[in-house]
Structure formats: structure tokens, C-alpha cells
């Protein structure tokens, strides 16, 4: 006989204001199976929890319904309390009186009636709850980090430092990411490569880290603690085991004029190349799309030159499976393509460049050796217009959101420019200056006061090019309330930060959510900012939202802490919401096997004592089942049921709404 206790929370006034909690309590006590009902100001408070625990013991409750906030908020809290009082935690249910009722309805009578209904439904469910035991699965203590930028490197180093193995997968030929492309970093103006390259080397040489560059994640199977990830090693055409990185090959390759992606197309590379001198691993790859040997079967110069015979034109992509227990996604960002803005030249004006191009111009190791020269004619620009919010905060042609890092790097660009070209004029168009960070506001102030950057509040309406190559920048100074026209030699657009191409596909592979712009969704915007809806998959860096370096590094370390926490136990407890098959009634039509997204439903032979197959039915693998219940719904005879959401429970819930 069920003995259900109902605990109704006022949540201060959050519920009590629109729901008559004593009336709900009075109604609850008359519901079938309910032996105890009480309302209280704050059920989640310590006295509130004590009240529940005491009632469980004293009233010998067999089930509990807490009518309070969303179960997403406090179900764990209350289930833990129930467990402390000796009640199986899965015998406790929550009715959502706050998010689903008091906060969304103003009419007290209607809200109270709905609250009573919601409680009745959960009482009906709780009466049919069965004690469930958490499922324990072994954890493979190796982490996969996807993306070898600063976030991925940091996460890998931290996990490795914690004594666990890491596989670091990077799409490009070298780790380092965008940070390796930066000249100096705000707000300290320290050299980006100087602080990054030691980390890159450390990651490559750490005994716990396996580096897989020029590789991409192909597919994923399994679940938290037990992922099997298939990684595609793209053909490098250079055997890294033989290559010493001497550089003879890429110094001799006859194809000299391939725009180098690393230099934002401002510098050139060969068909066999390392993207930049400090690359890790410092071993070249052949760009098959450009290589004459691979395209037309002619040349072969690099193979002839290589003293170690490391060149292999027959190299092919290979697939490697790795077993990991957790995943950190750190796939980063790229800049939005301003070609969508016809008013800024539609991407056709050579001297209208993006922030990365300027970084490469300002970088001592860049294509100009750190001299600011404009791309069209190599002339040193005497006036540069910097334009913030290019594509950001524009929901028509661009992106709705603020890209967060542009205010700071634009101030940095203006400073770097003025440090290099003392008589140059740096004009910054801005909508607002958002410099919320340690030392950030001071940095922007310095750009203004010490380095003479001219800040104009307003938007640029049009950039045109005169016949002599001068760029005419027309815009508005909204503080002065008048149009402005500036003749500039170079324009730097602070293009919006957007996710990397393919990020949505990767999210689907890992079962991670993403927003309308393609940024990965965290499990909770405030309380679980590095986790995702997919258990065991964590986020680091700008793949989640625009972030600067310190934020990316902080999140990377946070995700590493999450991974190490997960790996701290050899086994993992999982919610026991899994499907079960009634072997006696299963007709083995195999619809559930076809439907199961996890391959958890499998054929199962029922044997007699002699080992002879009597019948074949379906069985569900507890480790693989994630509890979606799709199998239960396709089973015509209801021979599959889902623990925690059984047919009997749903039937009872529906009858409670009669």
C-alpha cells in the first residue's frame, strides 16, 4: 500500500503569491495514496529538507512528491535528502509549481487549480515508482580534446598534469590555433608567440599527451566514460617518423605563390609547407590541392631532395579508433566574412582587411617582418580607420550578438600602429567601448591618452576607393551629430567572431546542442558553463561563445577539472533510466533494434539448459541504453518498458487528469 507524502513549497512568495499553497496541501491529502501533506516557506532550506526526512522516517513514507520549483533546479537536492532518510531516491518526484505555474499565471484561482492537477499527476506517478539502483559503468581514464588552439592545449596540459592520458586532435598541420597568429596580446602587450610556444612544445612532449594533428573527428559511439571515437588522419604525404624537419623540401618546392592561410593570405607558402616556423610538430605536409605531383603526377622534387626519404605521394587518409572516457570540445572560432557588406566594398577592396590580417602585419614574424604595409601596394599607411562591430550587433546582414573581443583588440591595433608609425593617424569608429575586464578599461584609456587614437562614436555607412587608391570612409559622428568623411590608406574591420565551419556537424556527432549562430550550448548558462547536455562532453574556449585568451584558458582549465573529477573514480554512476524487455511477450519483430539510437537493443537467444536456442528475443544493454524510450514506443505489444517512465506510470498520470 502506497504511503505518499506531499511537500508543498511556497518558495518565499514565488509560488505562494499566485498559488494558494495551503489549499493545494488540503487537496493533496485527499488524493489516493497520500498519507501526509504539508506546505512550507522554503522546502529546499535545511529545515525544509529536515521536514521531508523526518516525515519519511516517522510516517513510513513509500514515496514523496515535492511540489516546488522545476526538477531541473532541485530534484537532485531532494532526492539526496530522501536517500539520507533511507528512501530510494527514485521514489521521489517533483511537481513543478513555480516555473510551470506560479510564474506564468496571474489568476490565483486558475493557478491553484493547475497546481492541484500537477500535484495529482505526480502523486499518481510516485505511487507507481519503483526503487531503482544507479547503474555503474567503468570509466576509460583517457580524454579526447578536439582543437589544438590555446583552449585545447591548456585543457590537455591540465588533464595530463592530473596524471590522465589525453588525445589532442587538431584539424590543421600544427597546434597553436589563432593565438599563434597574434602579434601582441591585450592588455599587457606581451608577445603572443613568446607565451604560447612553450605551451605548444610542452603539449607535444608531455608523456601523457598524444598529438594527432592534421586529423578530424569522424564519428563517435558509446557514452560518458566509454566513448569510441573514430579519428581521420588526413594524408600528410610526409612520414613524420622519418622527417627531421630540416626544411629542405619546402625551401625547394617550385610552387611559391600559394596564399598562406596562417598569414591571412598576406604571405605566401609552398605546396609542401609548415604553416609557420614555430609549428608543432615542425614537420611539413603537402597541400594536395596545389601539389603538381599529386595533381598531375609531375615534379616530385621534394621526394628527390628529402635526405630521409620521408615523402610518400601514395599516402592516404587513415581512420584510427581511440577509446576515451571524456571529451573536451575546443574548436574555436573564425572571423565572419565581411564580403556580405556591399557598403564596405563587398570583400573586393584589398586595403580593407580584417583583424587577423592586421595581426600578421604587426607581427615581427609576419609576412612584412612587423612593418605596417598595406596589401595593395606595400605603402606604409598614414591613416588607418579601425571599424568595430563589423557584422556584430547587426541582426539584418550580420550577427545579433556582441563579439566581445573586438573593442580590446582594436584598441591594441591602434596602439601597435601608433608605436610603429609615429606620425600615423588611427581613427576608431565604435558603437560602444566594452572594456569589462581586468586592466581593460585602463588599456583603452591608454590607447586614447598616451597613444593618440581618435575614437569616433558612430557607424561607417560606406567605404569607397578613389582612383589613386585612397579609401574614402564616410560615416556619422553621433556624438557631434554630423557626418564625417575620412580619407584613409587602410581600413581594418573588426569582423564578428563566428564558430568554425563544420562546428554544427561536430556538435551533432557528439550530441551537443548549439545555438542559432552555431555556438555550442552549455548545460546551464550560469551553473554548468563548461558542461554540455551530452554527459562527458565539455566545452573550452570560443566554440561556446566569443572569448578572449584569459577566458578561454580559464574555461579550458575548468573543463580539465571536470574531466579529472569524472576520472577520479574507476566507475561512474548513471541514472538508471533504462529500457527493459519482457522476454515472455517479446515477439522479436526487431523494430526496437532498428529504432534504438545507441545500438543498445540487441538480439538475445533464450537458451535451455543444454544450451539449445529456444527462442530469440530482444535484450537491452544497460551500459549503452541512455533511456530515451523510443524502443518502448515502437513496441506494438509494449514488451519494452522504460524505468522511471513506465507505461503504467504514464497511464496513471493521464488518469489523474481525468
Amino acid at each position: 500500500m502506497a504511503r505518499i507524502g506531499v511537500f508543498i513549497c511556497h518558495c518565499g512568495e514565488n509560488i505562494g503569491r499566485t498559488v494558494d499553497c495551503p489549499a493545494v496541501s488540503a487537496a493533496a491529502v485527499r488524493m489516493p495514496g497520500v498519507v501526509h501533506s504539508v506546505d512550507y516557506k522554503y522546502m529546499c532550506s535545511d529545515p525544509g529538507q529536515q521536514m521531508i526526512k523526518k516525515a519519511i522516517v516517522e510516517m513510513k513514507l513509500t514515496g514523496v512528491v515535492v511540489a516546488a520549483c522545476s526538477p531541473r533546479m532541485h530534484e537532485r537536492t531532494f532526492r539526496a535528502a530522501a536517500a539520507e532518510a533511507g528512501l530510494n531516491p527514485f521514489l521521489l518526484e517533483m511537481a513543478n509549481l513555480r516555473e510551470h505555474c506560479s510564474w506564468v499565471h496571474a489568476d490565483k484561482a486558475a493557478a491553484t487549480q493547475k497546481a492541484i492537477d500537477l500535484v495529482r499527476v505526480m502523486v499518481a506517478k510516485a505511487r507507481r515508482d519503483r526503487a531503482l539502483r544507479p547503474i555503474r559503468v567503468p570509466v576509460e581514464p583517457t580524454a579526447l580534446v578536439v582543437g589544438g588552439g590555446i583552449a585545447g592545449i591548456q585543457a590537455a596540459l591540465d588533464i595530463a598534469a592530473g596524471g590522465k592520458k589525453v588525445v589532442l586532435v587538431e584539424r590543421g598541420p600544427s597546434i597553436g590555433g589563432h593565438m599563434a597568429r597574434l602579434s601582441e596580446t591585450f592588455p599587457t602587450l606581451d608577445c603572443s608567440q613568446c607565451i604560447l610556444t612553450p605551451r605548444m612544445v610542452e603539449a607535444a612532449s608531455h608523456p601523457n599527451i598524444t598529438l594527432m594533428t592534421y586529423s578530424e573527428v569522424e564519428s563517435v559511439e558509446g557514452f560518458v566514460g566509454n566513448f569510441t571515437v573514430t579519428v581521420r588522419h588526413k594524408a600528410r604525404y610526409v612520414d613524420p617518423a622519418k622527417c627531421t624537419g630540416c626544411g629542405d623540401c619546402f625551401n625547394k618546392c617550385p610552387l611559391k605563390n600559394i596564399p598562406n592561410e596562417f598569414d591571412a593570405g598576406l604571405g605566401m607558402r609552398r605546396a609542401i609547407y609548415v604553416p609557420f616556423p614555430q609549428a608543432v610538430p615542425n614537420k611539413p605536409v603537402i597541400d594536395a590541392a596545389h601539389c603538381t605531383m599529386l595533381q598531375k603526377g609531375k615534379c616530385g622534387l621534394c621526394a628527390k631532395i628529402c635526405p630521409r626519404g620521408a615523402i610518400d605521394y601514395k599516402d592516404q587518409d587513415s581512420l584510427v579508433k581511440v577509446k576515451v572516457g571524456a571529451v573536451v570540445l575546443a574548436t574555436g572560432f573564425q572571423l565572419w566574412d565581411h564580403a556580405a557588406y556591399g557598403e564596405y566594398g563587398g570583400g573586393r577592396l584589398a586595403d580593407v582587411i580584417d583583424g587577423f590580417a592586421f595581426e600578421r602585419l604587426a607581427s615581427a614574424s609576419g609576412p612584412t617582418g612587423g612593418l605596417i604595409k598595406r596589401p595593395s601596394d606595400g605603402k606604409e599607411p598614414k591613416t588607418i580607420v579601425f571599424l568595430q562591430c563589423c557584422g556584430s550587433r547587426d541582426d539584418k546582414a550580420g550577427k545579433k550578438y556582441c563579439s566581445k573581443i573586438c573593442c580590446m583588440y582594436t584598441a591594441k591595433h591602434a596602439m601597435l600602429y601608433r608605436h610603429k608609425v609615429h606620425d600615423g593617424r588611427a581613427v576608431v569608429f565604435y558603437m560602444d567601448v566594452r572594456a569589462a575586464g581586468k586592466g581593460y578599461e585602463e588599456f583603452v584609456r591608454r590607447a586614447l591618452s598616451d597613444d593618440g587614437a581618435e575614437y569616433v562614436r558612430g557607424r561607417v555607412s560606406r567605404i569607397t576607393r578613389k582612383q589613386d587608391g585612397t579609401l574614402v570612409v564616410r560615416g556619422a559622428d553621433t556624438l557631434a551629430g554630423r557626418p564625417v568623411t575620412i580619407e584613409a590608406d587602410l581600413v581594418v574591420l573588426a569582423d564578428a567572431v563566428v564558430p568554425r565551419p563544420g562546428s554544427e556537424k561536430l556538435a551533432q556527432i557528439f550530441g551537443v546542442g548549439y545555438d542559432q549562430d552555431g555556438f555550442y550550448s552549455e548545460a546551464h548558462p550560469k551553473l554548468r558553463p563548461v558542461e554540455t547536455a551530452a554527459a562527458g562532453v565539455f566545452l573550452a574556449g570560443a566554440c561556446q561563445a566569443p572569448k578572449d585568451i584569459p577566458e578561454s584558458v580559464a574555461q579550458a582549465s575548468a573543463s580539465a577539472a571536470k574531466v579529472l573529477g569524472l576520472f577520479a573514480n574507476p566507475e561512474l554512476e548513471r541514472e538508471p533510466i533504462i529500457a527493459r524487455v519482457n522476454r515472455a511477450t517479446c515477439a522479436h519483430c526487431r523494430a526496437c533494434i532498428s529504432a534504438c539510437p545507441y545500438g543498445a537493443a540487441k538480439d538475445f537467444d533464450v537458451l535451455d539448459r543444454a544450451g539449445k536456442v529456444l527462442r530469440t528475443v530482444v535484450d537491452v544493454n544497460e551500459g549503452l541504453c541512455q533511456g530515451c524510450g523510443t524502443c518502448a514506443a515502437v513496441c506494438r505489444s509494449h514488451s519494452v518498458d522504460l524505468d522511471g517512465f513506465t507505461g503504467e506510470q504514464i497511464h496513471a498520470e493521464l488518469n489523474a487528469l481525468l
Binding site: G342, E343, G346, R348, R465, Q467, V472
Partner: protein, 287 residues
């Protein structure tokens, strides 16, 4: 034979008659029939919308209702202002069902919103799709700047076939006509529009800037699709010449005229002789 509804509007029977002549001529070459909407009325440009919003919608509404009742599913409005008024009304109607109800009562005609309205660029594109290019016989070899102005590039949901900030809708046609399209900065700068009479000084300044830029990039002529732009660049150019503010005459042609020339038609038949700035010398033996 494809049939298009035709809305000439006032301009094409007055100051912009060259546009009417040349549009009809190239339609004929392409084998497209233009059927003039019977009993059409003024579209309301440029004054109605500054006087009375109901009137500004009611006038085009009646035109569209007539076209629909006459079985015309597509209507060409060569004048950019007419196009903007007709299509703008269509957009307003889709945004507000009540407006349609009100207009129906006012005009005493139903309109179900089925008419598709084409501007000159979209019309030319459809002629090219019908195989107009195959009928081009004359090699023009001219350097052209395409001038769109505002009404052929702007208006949310009105000019849907082109980019407001970087219009390209004429480029393909000009290239097919054997001409080079020069990149320039003034393709959708303002010509002064309706201030031609009231603020002639401003119009002269604006038109001059456009002509200067066209000359600077080395254009032989400016191609436009709008009678208002044409009048500001063509007629007002006389004044600029008189005041020696421009160094020489620069012909201004309608897109349809240029295509007519490419199709081998006589300049006079296309209306080239009616411009203020002589343009017949652009084709050999034309002048």
C-alpha cells in the same frame, strides 16, 4: 509567346518616352508581348505618400487590382518610381491583411495579391532567360558604369533581386551586350531625385559627383534604369556643361536602350535622339 502586363506610368509617356520606346523594342526582339493594363492610373509617385497615406496605397492598389482582373500575373513597371510604389504596396498588403480590406472598400475592387511586379532589371534578366542574347548582332565594346540610384537598389522586401549596398542587377546584361562594366563607387549614390525642381543646386552638386566619378574611372557612358536619375544626369548635365563644372558631355542611356543597340536596332527608334546629351555617336554610323 510570353505575355507580360505593362504599366508605363506617366513618365514613359512624357519625359521618359525613350524608356518606353526601348523597352517595347527589346521586348519585341525577344518575342515577349507587353500588354498594357487597361484603364491604368497614376501610381502616386512622388507626391502622394507625403500627402495622404491612404491615397498613396490606394492608387497602386487599383492598378494591381486591374492587372489581376485582366488576368496579368506579371506586370512590368519600367519606371523605377512606379515599380517602387507598386511593389511597396504589395509588400504593405502582405504585412497587413486589414490594409487590403480597407483598400478594397476604398477602391471598390478586390485584389488577392497574385500579381508579380518586375522592375526593369528583373525584366531584362527575364528577357535574357528567354534567349535575348542570341539576338544581339552589334558589337558595342563600350566601357560602362551601371548607375542604380536608390529606387532600383533599396527598399526592404521591395528590391528583392539585388543587394541594396552593392547592386549588381544590370551587370550581367551589360556584359552580354558586349560592354565592359567598370567598378566604381557611385552605383547607388543619390542623384538628387525629386528635388530637381525645388533644390536644383543640390541636384547639380550630386549629379556632378556621379558624373565626375564615372569619368574618372574611364566610362564612355552611364547606364541607368530610372527616368528620374536619367533626367537629373542628362538634362541637368546641360547646366553643368554651361557652367563648365564638367569638362565634357557624358551620354546617359537607359539599360533598355543599350540592349536595343546591341540587338542592332536604330538609335533613333530607341529614342536616343531625344536625350539632352547626344549619345548616337556611341554606335558607328549612329550620329
Amino acid at each position: 509567346m510570353k505575355t507580360l502586363g505593362y504599366y508605363p506610368g506617366c513618365s514613359l509617356s512624357g519625359g521618359g518616352i525613350e524608356l518606353d520606346l526601348s523597352v517595347r523594342a527589346i521586348a519585341k526582339v525577344a518575342g515577349v508581348e507587353l500588354r498594357e493594363i487597361e484603364d491604368w492610373n497614376c501610381c502616386g509617385a512622388s507626391a502622394a505618400h507625403s500627402l495622404d497615406h491612404s491615397l498613396a496605397v490606394a492608387l497602386p492598389f487599383r492598378v494591381l487590382a486591374l492587372a489581376e482582373s485582366q488576368g496579368l500575373s506579371e506586370v512590368l513597371a519600367p519606371c523605377a518610381a512606379c515599380f517602387s510604389r507598386l511593389k511597396g504596396t504589395q509588400v504593405r498588403l502582405t504585412r497587413s491583411p486589414e490594409l487590403g480590406q480597407r483598400m478594397q472598400e476604398l477602391v471598390e475592387r478586390p485584389y488577392n495579391g497574385t500579381v508579380r511586379i518586375l522592375n526593369i532589371n528583373e525584366f531584362v534578366a527575364s528577357l535574357l532567360a528567354e534567349g535575348l542574347a542570341g539576338k544581339f548582332t552589334r558589337k558595342l565594346g563600350l566601357k560602362v558604369v551601371a548607375y542604380y540610384g536608390c529606387l532600383l537598389s533599396r527598399g526592404e522586401d521591395i528590391v528583392t533581386s539585388d543587394d541594396a549596398e552593392d547592386p549588381q542587377g544590370m551587370a550581367a546584361a551589360i556584359r552580354v551586350a558586349g560592354c565592359e562594366v567598370l567598378p566604381w563607387n557611385s552605383s547607388n549614390e543619390c542623384c538628387g531625385g525629386g528635388f530637381s525642381m525645388s533644390k536644383t543646386g543640390s541636384v547639380l552638386d550630386l549629379s556632378q559627383a556621379i558624373l565626375d566619378e564615372a569619368r574618372a574611372v574611364g566610362a564612355d557612358l552611364v547606364v541607368t534604369g530610372c527616368p528620374m536619375c536619367h533626367s537629373n544626369l542628362d538634362m541637368r548635365q546641360l547646366e553643368l556643361l554651361k557652367r563648365r563644372r564638367v569638362p565634357g558631355a557624358l551620354p546617359i542611356l537607359y539599360l533598355s536602350e543599350l540592349l536595343g543597340l546591341a540587338a542592332g536596332l536604330e538609335p533613333g527608334a530607341l529614342g536616343l535622339g531625344r536625350h539632352f546629351i547626344e549619345s548616337r555617336q556611341l554606335v558607328r554610323g549612329g550620329a
